[in-house]
Symmetry: C2
Subunit: 474 residues, 2 copies
């Protein structure tokens, strides 16, 4: 498995990351600069993310739509803050066949303009509201430095765009969708995110405020992994999205957007993977169990493997038998590098004792289990245990890398030894944010609900307004 050699995580985290992406066959580079091919193993994870989130969205009353990929420049220009925020990253289509287009069109980098343009035409009364629309699609941002899943010029995402008759309802939507992201990361991805409002400096271009979901990677760098924006009436004024309210008066509608991307796959890797490759939380793993028969076609082994595989699949566990002609050792390593949560080894020697072996990917622990036990229940319970333990482990790591800074020296010391989530009070002045940024680019991640620490700004010493969590970012 020379091709799959993985640089140790503690030696070179960045190299380790891309090595895991390649070794687990999640994605590969392409001839298109800055764009990846998402391979079957990677896309299957995205399909599971889509399935689970989409079901949740629908239970909450959302419906899916599809808006165009292209945005005419004139339409984009109607909302200045948005175009200014995205201008350097926009890719422009300018010609069709050999003819120049009359107007150039941006390739979708986000779809606020198109949704607002649609809502403008389709909303007349408060009775038409709310509209809870979402779309799953590709978006393009011309990034200079790219890394698979983490920052790619093209990526996949869902973008929710909802429009409401009252500010209160829209803000409730903004909040509940952030709650979905936090729930998803915790319960499905075993990632203990933190959440709160972005500062004015860090919020989304044009939003009144942005709620963010922040994960802490194994190396102590933060990852923004899901945002939910409240726009108030700003976009509806720019795009003339009006409705007649209950008092029979014209009113601009209240707008929210929220999105989560294929970046979640980067988070799974950088929180859970190890030097042997990917480690997938059972609830997101496309294949939860690898059954590996040992002993060159031994009939008893094959029969038990087939029987167990069928039983597991029938009970809703995704398992498969590796029947390829590779050696058992190779198969073990392959299941390992691909992050399959449980490996079941069935061999003639163990079978003589009526036993088979369960190996956990997350801890490498092995258990001998009697074949007359209820193996389906045993597997289900072990999957749940792995899921729980992965969250506990990630939470422990996060907590170990969570620090408090009372002054700039603390910031310097923490960021120069071991970065992480840094709690510090802040006066609310952007100048202080800029001062912190001078230390390795450290930024405010979010404004926490927690009480103030010292009551004074850790940067300038003036009276503090907010308890803020800071950190380095991807």
């Amino acid at each position: 498995m020379n091709n799959n050699a993985i640089t140790p995580r503690d030696v070179d985290f960045a190299k380790w990351y891309t090595d895991v992406v390649r070794a687990a066959k999640l994605a590969d580079y392409t001839s298109v600069k800055g764009c990846i091919a998402i391979e079957p193993n990677g896309y299957a994870i995205w399909e599971n993310i889509q399935k689970i989130m989409d079901q949740k969205f629908k239970e909450m009353g959302h419906v899916n739509v599809q808006m165009p990929l292209l945005i005419p420049e004139s339409l984009f220009n109607q909302e200045k803050e948005l175009i200014e925020g995205f201008a350097p990253e926009l890719l422009w289509a300018t010609a069709a066949g050999e003819k120049k287009l009359e107007e150039r069109h941006a390739i979708r980098s986000t779809s606020e303009t198109l949704f607002c343009d649609y809502y403008k035409k389709h909303i007349t009364s408060y009775k038409d509201l709310p509209k809870l629309y979402n779309q799953w699609c590709n978006v393009f941002r011309y990034e200079k430095e790219t890394r698979p899943f983490l920052r790619s010029r093209e990526f996949l995402w869902q973008e929710g765009h909802t429009i409401h008759a009252t500010a209160e309802e829209a803000q409730w939507e903004t909040k509940r969708m952030m709650d979905v992201y936090v729930w998803f990361n915790k319960e499905i991805l075993a990632i203990p995110s933190i959440t709160g409002k972005k500062t004015e400096k860090e919020k989304f271009a044009g939003a009144e405020y942005t709620l963010t979901n922040e994960d802490l990677m194994y190396n102590g760098v933060c990852l923004q992994d899901g945002t939910s924006h409240y726009f108030g009436q700003k976009f509806s004024k720019a795009y003339d999205v009006k409705f007649t309210n209950k008092d029979n008066q014209d009113e601009y509608a209240y707008y929210t957007t929220w999105g989560k991307t294929t970046r979640a796959i980067a988070a799974i890797i950088m929180v859970h993977a190890d030097d042997k490759g990917l480690v997938l939380p059972p609830r997101i793993a496309p294949k939860q169990v690898a059954i590996i028969p040992i002993g060159n076609g031994n009939e008893e082994v094959i029969n038990l493997a087939n029987e167990l595989n069928n039983k597991l699949n029938q009970s809703g566990i995704t398992s498969y038998i590796d029947n390829s002609d590779k050696s058992p050792g190779f198969k073990f390593a392959e299941a390992e590098v691909n992050g399959i949560p449980i490996r079941i080894e069935i061999g003639p020697r163990d079978l003589a004792n009526s036993e088979i072996t369960f190996a956990r990917r997350d801890t490498s622990e092995k258990y001998q289990v009697n074949i007359n036990d209820d193996l389906v229940t045993y597997t289900k319970d072990l999957l749940d245990t792995i899921q729980d333990d992965m969250l506990i482990k990630a939470t422990k790591r996060r907590d170990e890398l969570t620090f408090t800074a009372h002054n700039l020296d603390d910031f310097e010391r923490i960021l120069n030894t071991q970065p992480g989530f840094i709690h510090a009070d802040w006066c609310g002045d952007e100048a202080c944010e800029n001062r912190v940024k001078e230390i390795k680019g450290c930024k405010s991640r979010l404004i926490s609900d927690e009480p103030l620490i010292d009551g004074k700004c850790a940067i300038c010493g003036k009276e503090a307004k907010h308890h803020v969590i800071w950190g380095l970012q991807y």
Copy 2:
């Protein structure tokens, strides 16, 4: 429902079509020329198409991937026939931010180039084959005249790209995927497609041959709705996709692609819809049953509606209660225009006789059913009956509009009175195809497996090689 007025189908078929699209809220025009917004009702149909086809693909061993949206011009140019075929329709991205790109990039119109470029890197031995990849994505073709779903500059599709060690296996794949499309149209969409090979003139640019799935619309115009291409080694030579075969020799791989698009939604409309709006075959309908309570909040009515709705949903039937404050007549019309297969009316007067009313969308028939009957089974059976009857009706219409031409006069007469599928013998000469095309643009649809009719070409009178089916096309 003035906004939803539908032009009668027999008065103006084209206008009727777009009226149905709008009245059933499937899609709307946007500020992006030639591009539509697929609205919730339309996208839900596409989601069902995806779900059913994707499951079938996976059962057959296919896996999903995602290739980039952009194709560098130099890569596209490696296969001349493909670029020549698509050149006039290609949209080009030429600038990022305010900077010109070093090389212009085509927006994906089809992904042969990217898949071949990927396979080139990832295939070394016959042991790596076959690779059965598919992707669900958006594509862009700069069409001059567009109509929702039927011909849109951007559309959604799946594109399968498979690569094999032998020509035999690749041709088997080409065939079995066409069989899937035919199966899907017949069993799920209730559309009796016909299938066969395209002529050399009509095949896909660069393919050795193309299998096609052709539907006949209500007005007798043909719709190509799914194609499967066998490329032999042509693309693998152009893109250097080689592998070491069992004899330890280098060999170019054998390649197939196959695709089906959101155009299927146009086919559903133009085969099944009527002057009252959409008519959805039950197996593709996102909502199969509309329950409409009558009698202003009568408790018995509401209780039965809720109970029945729960029972239906629990048994896998997608039903909903229309609890809005509109009048029953308005609700009936809305369920009708949206093509919901079954409408259940529950009113106090009928309930006094222990009865409720089932109304079929396809035939407008109504049945009084005793509430003590097994209503779930009754509903399931009725959905099956509707599905079967819709296929029978569409097949009858197709057969009525299927003609035979023995000579050019026959072609003229048929195409000037009532077009349809026209069976006629053909010598194999492209000049004869061109001659037929002079009559209203009539083209060969496919080469049929059926025996020759007269044994001589209906156009030139020379010896016939093929029994061909001809027709006007969308």
